[in-house]
């Protein structure tokens, strides 16, 4: 049988993969994609916990819904900033952002 632990383990491994992507990627688009993986890993953990432990209020599932909403908002803003960065510097590498240091 599948237990809650299986889902939580999957979520943890997925989170680790996403974190690795966020830390190592140089392309901002790739970083944002990794952030999406992080958020989804968290949503899996919330939804699974709600499905196994919270039959009456399933708050975790609602939280997963809110995570999806916030992820969409975050991504649209992130891409808008990315686009201005690209127009300004002609590249989407994190190396360009370094030049903004004061």
């Amino acid at each position: 049988m599948i237990t809650l632990g299986h889902y939580l383990t999957l979520s943890a491994v997925l989170f680790a993969i996403g974190l690795f992507g966020v830390l190592t990627k140089r392309n901002v688009i790739a970083v944002l994609m990794s952030v999406e993986i992080l958020l989804n890993a968290a949503a899996i953990a919330f939804a699974a916990t709600a499905a196994y432990r919270d039959p009456l209020f399933f708050s975790g599932q609602l939280f997963a819904l809110f995570i999806i909403v916030v992820a969409a908002a975050e991504l649209s803003i992130g891409f808008a900033i990315l686009l201005t960065l690209y127009r300004h510097a002609g590249s989407v590498s994190t190396d360009v952002i370094e030049e903004m240091r004061g």
Partner: protein
């Protein structure tokens, strides 16, 4: 039976996520991201919440990677530098340690899934979590306006 299904699904999800992180072709990474999110929707189906599954499918698996592909096209970026070798080893060690710790924990041994109907989610969303719901809608509106303002070309 269902454990086998879960194992296949989980393996494919992790494989998709690894492709996103390790692929040097960013278009393929975006496609792998969509694939991963699509399978996560399947995971939500297994968790007895078709509502969450379909929202995941519509927003995360369909809309967000399309947006990503669009940005990839606009910024003309095709390839990303692959991660260096030492980083890979460190990261794998982190993953294994993390997963091992969780397996050891495994106190979460519940086996009973409680399915949730879309009506239930809707009622909860508009009664108890009404305030966060409204805040989320304001957040989306702000994100929309903000994205337009940021991405607009300023007249010289």
């Amino acid at each position: 039976m269902s454990l086998v299904a879960f194992a296949i699904l989980a393996g494919l999800i992790l494989a998709g996520a690894l492709v996103v992180v390790f692929s040097s072709n960013i278009v393929r990474a975006a496609v792998a991201l969509a694939f991963t999110f699509f399978l996560i929707a399947g995971l939500y189906f297994m968790l007895g919440s078709p509502m969450l599954a379909v929202v995941q499918f519509a927003v995360n698996a369909a809309a967000i990677p399309i947006l990503t592909l669009f940005i990839i096209m606009m910024t003309r970026s095709r390839s990303v530098r692959p991660a260096s070798g030492i980083f890979v080893l460190v990261a794998l060690a982190v993953v294994i340690a993390f997963a091992g710790g969780l397996w050891a924990y495994l106190g979460a041994a519940e086996t009973q899934v409680f399915p949730v109907s879309p009506e239930g989610i809707g009622l909860r969303l508009l009664s108890v979590t009404l305030f966060p719901f409204e805040v989320a809608s304001v957040l989306l509106l702000l994100a929309m306006v903000g994205a337009i303002v940021l991405a607009r070309r300023v007249e010289e």
